[in-house]
């Protein structure tokens, strides 16, 4: 095809311009969406996770307002009722309303999950920083962490729970101790790799103080992987809590927790499976939500880690 365009002064009128053949795109066009709809479209799993978690949080905080009865009230006359309009999730072997217990049980799981995630991250961060920074302590601390990591977490928690009075605080403590080594190893790894970075070397050479280097370089770089790790710890702590409660080494029986409700339904599971079913669904959904959030955070904050895991 030859066309004659309006010509710039420098070019004489005899010139003509040959246009290259116009090749169409071979893919359908890509539509880039923005705003909330765009987020839901690009990250449907993260959006779902946030949604479920928000519901669970609201249920836990405002449990008394969701048509619940006293979750610990015994009613021998109404034992093991199947789900009905009166008892949405049925009643357990003591006549307690399973629906109310499940709603209140959200409190224990969420508190344990968040508290363990927070404390394990904070303590692990501290240990990791010390280990990565103070060469003299490094090998001792890491040997200790290796040892601690060699004890299967659930068994470690079981042993600790066997020595303490059953309480939510002790459950948090037991699970936190089991989770610390993983966090401190992660933080130490980040510190050691950052110390090799030329810009950190330069900062040290320029006389920047250690606290300043930690604040400016180490912490910001630790934050992303630590947040992701904390999210996974939150999910796994909820599962460990339920397992401990289920085998009778966790939350005290008078406090309704999802693990406890299922432990109460254990003897009757073949005939009254709903007692276990409802708390199981709530627990699984909540942990699922946390894990989806963790995967989303991982992909968003640390693409390198996304490849690794």
């Amino acid at each position: 095809m030859t066309i004659t365009a309006s010509l710039p002064a420098a070019i004489t009128a005899r010139d003509h311009y040959a246009a290259a053949p116009d090749l169409p795109d071979i893919h359908l066009p890509v539509r880039v969406r923005g705003g909330v709809a765009g987020f839901v479209f690009r990250q449907p799993t993260v959006a779902l996770g946030l949604f479920i978690l928000a519901i669970m949080l609201v249920l836990a905080v405002f449990a008394p307002w969701f048509g619940t009865l006293d979750p610990t009230a015994l009613a021998p006359a109404k034992r093991t009722r199947p789900p009905s309009m009166d008892f949405w999730f049925g009643t357990d072997a003591f006549g307690r309303d399973v629906y109310s217990r499940v709603i209140y049980g959200a409190r224990v799981s969420l508190v344990v999950g968040f508290a363990v995630a927070f404390f394990a991250s904070a303590i692990g961060l501290l240990i990791g920083l010390v280990s990565g920074y103070v060469r003299a302590f490094d090998s001792t601390i890491m040997r200790a962490m290796d040892g601690l990591m060699s004890i299967p977490p659930i068994l470690l928690a079981v042993a600790l729970m066997a020595l303490t009075r059953a309480s939510v605080q002790n459950v948090i403590l037991a699970i936190t101790i089991a989770e610390i080594p993983r966090v401190s190893r992660l933080v130490r790894g980040v510190v050691l790799s950052l110390r090799e970075q030329p810009y950190v070397d330069a900062a040290i050479a320029a006389g920047t103080t250690t606290p300043m280097i930690i604040k400016r370089h180490i912490l910001p770089n630790t934050l992303a992987p630590l947040t992701v790790q904390a999210t996974y710890i939150c999910g796994s702590a909820m599962i460990v809590e339920s397992i401990l409660s289920f085998i009778g080494a966790g939350t005290p029986p008078m406090i309704p927790s999802w693990g406890n409700i299922m432990a109460d339904g254990r003897a009757l599971w073949q005939v009254k499976p709903y007692i276990i079913f409802f708390p199981a669904v709530f627990l699984s959904l909540t942990v699922l939500a946390v894990n989806l959030l963790g995967d989303g955070l991982r992909d968003a904050l640390d693409p390198r880690m996304a490849k690794r895991l």
């Binding site: 977490p153 600790l160 066997a162 289920f246 599971w269 276990i276």
Partner: protein, 313 residues
């Protein structure tokens, strides 16, 4: 090579010593008075004192640890407070069902998870990949006992394909033994499969983006040769490492799985010990499992030499 083997084997000794120290220290780390807790709320002060003495809490930590450690070196894990029998003997009686369950789960999980992860990485982004990854997220999110009850309800109670509960020793025949272990192994393997499949997929994705995989394709090799020889062999070390780390999950999960399926193994022993507050027994079980875990990871470490020709010490 032999030198490396020896050094690596010897290096587990300090780890085991630290594990022992930790497990022993729990008595001292635990907040509150362990003796009072173990004695229970109805116990008299004399009972509490008797328990304190039997746990050695009345004597200095170092002395007590020395004694305990010395006994440990001689294979003595102490005496059960409830039955009065040696802990080692109690563990030995319950070893077979638990080892059977863990071995079947291990084999089943690896056989299921590695191909899953390879396929997901091969067809990354496809519906198959998404399905497998969704399965993995569920695997991490559903507690082992929930999976156990679900499987038992569907396949044992409703469909009646497999026994609901119980255990048959392997001495009574391979099938009766296996039949009782299928559902528990699937339940216990659920999270383990998720873990292995996920690391397999991630490692394979990285390996498949490597230049040598492109070379293999450019040579005209078939996809299965590329995936299972060229790529998987390179991905083996991280996968095997995670298989080793995941054994901790198996151990923790076995305790619960045995309770769901009424398998008379170490898990049941643990739960009984919790109910009876039989601390020496719990301590012995924790220590035994931790040692098993350390040894498993030693074997894993040694397997690197066979998997990667670059590793020569």
């Amino acid at each position: 090579m032999f030198g490396f083997l020896l050094r690596r084997v010897l290096s587990t000794i300090p780890v085991m010593a630290i594990v022992a120290l930790f497990v022993f220290s729990l008595l001292y780390i635990a907040p509150g008075d362990p003796a009072a807790v173990i004695a229970g709320d109805q116990a008299s002060p004399a009972d509490v004192e008797r328990i304190r003495e039997s746990l050695g809490l009345d004597r200095p930590f170092v002395v007590r640890f020395g004694e305990w450690g010395w006994q440990l070196l001689h294979g003595n894990l102490g005496t059960s407070m409830f039955t009065g029998l040696p802990v080692v003997e109690l563990i030995r009686q319950r070893l077979e069902p638990t080892l059977s369950l863990m071995a079947v789960t291990l084999v089943f999980a690896i056989v299921a998870a590695v191909p899953m992860g390879v396929l997901a990485a091969w067809k990354v982004g496809s519906w198959l990949d998404r399905l497998l990854m969704a399965f993995c997220v569920f695997g991490f999110s559903i507690p082992v006992f929930v999976v156990g009850y679900l499987l038992a309800y569907v396949f044992a109670l409703e469909l009646d394909w497999l026994p609901v509960q119980g255990y048959t020793p392997i001495a009574k025949g391979l099938w009766p033994w296996l039949e009782n272990l299928i559902l528990p192994a699937i339940a216990l393997g659920f999270v383990y499969i998720a873990l292995i499949a996920r690391i397999t997929r991630a490692t394979m994705l990285e390996v498949l983006s490597q230049d040598y995989v492109r070379t293999a394709r450019a040579k005209g090799l078939g996809e299965s040769t590329i995936l299972f020889l060229h790529a998987l062999k390179n991905a083996a070390v991280p996968i095997v490492t995670v298989i080793g780390i995941g054994v901790a999950l198996l151990i923790g999960g076995a305790v619960v799985t045995e309770s769901v399926f009424a398998i008379p193994g170490l898990g049941r022993l643990t739960i009984d010990a919790i109910v009876r507050r039989d601390y020496p027994l719990i301590q012995g079980i924790v220590l035994m499992f931790s040692f098993v875990y350390v040894l498993v990871n030693l074997v894993i470490d040694l397997s690197y030499m066979a998997l990667d020709p670059r590793i020569r010490y």
